[in-house]
């Protein structure tokens, strides 16, 4: 099922890149916005503009005014590279946003130790099998009822949606979800479509948590295995849009389908996770613009998981979704708060980037997350050695120009 990314529409006009003046104090800020518009669809490899690269470019601009250039200062001046390297030592986006919390067992003294083991046995020996049996039978029931509603009952009855909703609820029950919902829940009957829900993203279970209240259509990364099967059948039947993160053609199609979807009021409200990737629920990475370019109201949804029993972060690169679910099912409970917030509309004096940033700030404040100026895509497009090579090339070419 779920859920990723809607940066499809994000396209940065290269014009505003050079429009701003490179004040040093502003360079951090600019970096934020640069990495923001990452969804430059035409280029697959995303260019990151780090503060260090910014320093180098700035130097290059001032340099061109000089007449004669010495080689020595250029060779000795590596401040741009140093800037980035040392900043990474102090703090790096990867460790911040995508690192799982290390589970520290609380069995560190003699009277806690037996208790901890007792708890462990109950969770793995009793709760887990029960829950597994429950979710497997729920899956069987879902399969039967979904195919019935899909092939027999007319679409207008909305039984498919109901099935998906109940199935999501079954999942939440399977990890004893204790979810508190705050704020007005999305209405079921009346207003559909014409509005976009955006939320921070911790795991694919976000979708389940939200859908058990009212079904959503969602933009999702294609998955394989049983998740992929669900996506191709059930999720497609309720108008979810799936795409492949790395396929540029797909991204174009998504933009179109997004527009069609919000224009059609009979469809389910659209849910978008503009971070485009799962973040560990302590931080919030930059939002992609896609959801904010549609010209419709945006309802911010903030989801905060309580890490008391289990860390709900799904590290998709280390863990399959099944394993992630097993982890959740063998914990005591999944405790979360969900806030539905006031619908927001883009102000007239606001660009879609600023609008996205404003919504992000709202979500971060509500859920107690820390907003960081990093791009979630870095999780997939790991800073590659190519980036290092291109940097060396840039450095070399300015040097060689100096030689001539």
């Amino acid at each position: 099922m779920p859920v990723d990314d809607a940066d499809a529409g994000a396209r940065r006009s290269s014009g505003d890149q050079s429009a701003r003046t490179p004040q040093p104090s502003e360079s951090i800020n600019r970096f934020a916005f640069d990495s923001f518009g990452e969804g430059d669809i035409e280029r697959e490899q995303v260019e990151r503009v780090t503060p260090g690269i910014e320093l180098e470019r700035q130097a290059e601009r001032t340099r061109s005014t000089h007449e004669r250039e010495e080689v020595l200062p250029r060779l000795l001046d590596c401040s741009g590279v140093l800037q980035d390297a040392c900043a990474a030592i102090v703090d790096d986006s990867f460790n911040r946003c995508f690192q799982e919390a290390v589970e520290e067992p609380w069995n560190f003294n003699f009277y806690l130790f037996p208790l901890w083991w007792l708890g462990w046995l109950i969770r793995h020996g009793i709760l887990f099998p029960l829950r597994l049996a429950f979710i497997l039978s729920a899956s069987a029931a879902f399969t039967v009822s979904f195919f019935f509603s899909h092939y027999v009952t007319p679409r207008e009855w909305g039984w498919e949606r109901k099935c998906v909703e109940l199935y999501a609820a079954a999942f939440v029950v399977s990890w004893t979800g204790v979810i508190r919902y705050h704020g007005p829940k999305p209405s079921r009957g009346g207003q559909r479509g014409g509005v976009v829900y955006v939320s921070n993203h911790t795991s694919m279970i976000d979708y389940l948590v939200l859908t058990q209240v009212s079904p959503f259509a969602v933009i999702q990364q294609k998955h394989r295995g049983w998740v992929g099967l669900l996506q191709r059948t059930a999720m497609n039947a309720i108008d979810c849009i799936e795409f492949n993160r790395t396929d540029i053609q797909d991204r174009h199609k998504v933009t179109e389908r997004l527009k069609q979807h919000v224009a059609d009021k009979s469809r389910l409200p659209l849910l978008i996770f503009p971070e485009g990737t799962c973040v560990n629920n302590k931080y919030c990475v930059m939002f992609k613009r896609g959801a904010f370019d549609l010209g419709v109201d945006v309802v911010p949804v903030a989801i905060k998981y309580n890490s008391l029993f289990v860390d709900a972060f799904w590290n998709s690169r280390r863990q399959s979704f099944s394993r992630h679910l097993c982890k959740l099912m063998s914990s005591w409970a999944v405790v979360a708060d969900v806030w539905y917030m006031e619908p927001q509309r883009q102000r007239e004096d606001e660009t879609s980037i600023e609008f996205a940033e404003r919504v992000r700030t709202m979500i971060c404040k509500r859920a107690g997350l820390k907003a960081v100026p990093w791009d979630g895509m870095l999780k997939y497009y790991r800073p590659s050695p190519r980036e290092c090579e291109s940097r060396r090339k840039a450095f070399a070419s300015t040097l060689m120009n100096g030689l001539k």
Binding site: P24, G52, L55, Q58, A59, T62, E70, V71, L72, P73, L75, L76, D77, C78, S79, G80, V81, L82, Q83, D84, A85, C86, A87, A88, I89, V90, D91, D92, S93, F94, N95, K370, L378, R382, P383, S384, P385, E387, C388, E389, R391, R392, K393, F395, A396, S397, L399, M400, L403
Partner: protein
């Protein structure tokens, strides 16, 4: 004195100690944040960072200067780690920053940037994108510039000192009038 790897938290005394060690370039909250960072990088709580642990930071690993930076920061205890970084703190002077850069260039740590130091660093910085002749020409030109600079000041140094000394380094970079690297320590509210 609790600055061994085993201590979970810094005491007020430790913090003051570290602060003194880095001439007050970091606030106590910054030092706490740095300590948390240090501990999270130091996977087995040995009290220092190894090459592998530093190279595990993706954004550092892709830096052209990664090998040199890692060399500078590896196997340092927390106090020296902070001292090293303090040269780049927002409170550090231009000279502090320049000295850090100088240290970075001075690969063999003999107090001057000899030809071999410059060659090593330039190799890191340009990689394989420059041909051998061009590379040699670059180094040659750099030392010509150095000679010209010395002639200008009419303080031709003795034959023994062949490399770039720190005051020459500072002079060479005096024309580079721009922001030098600065490292901001993110201070968490929950730190």
């Amino acid at each position: 004195m609790g600055l061994t790897a085993s201590s979970l938290n810094l005491t007020q005394y430790d913090i003051e100690d570290v602060q003194q060690h880095c001439d007050g370039k970091f606030t106590s909250r910054e030092i706490q944040a740095l300590y948390a960072r240090f501990r999270s990088l130091d996977k087995r709580h040995k009290g220092f960072l190894t090459e592998d642990e530093l190279m595990a930071i993706p954004e550092l690993a892709i830096s052209p200067l990664a090998p040199r930076i890692v060399q500078m920061f590896q196997n340092q205890n927390f106090k020296d780690f902070v001292k090293m970084l303090s040269a780049l703190s927002p409170r550090a002077s231009r000279d502090d920053r320049l000295r850090f850069m100088f240290q970075c260039h001075d690969v063999d740590r003999d107090g001057e940037i000899a030809r071999s130091d410059l060659e090593t660093m330039t190799r890191h910085l340009v990689g394989s994108s420059v041909s051998e002749e061009d590379f040699n020409a670059l180094i040659h030109r750099a030392f010509e510039d150095l000679r010209a600079m010395r002639a200008e000041r009419a303080d031709a140094r003795e034959g023994s000192a062949r490399g770039v000394a720190f005051d020459e380094f500072r002079r060479a970079l005096s024309a580079v009038d721009r922001t030098l690297p600065t490292v901001r320590v993110p201070v968490d509210d929950d730190a």
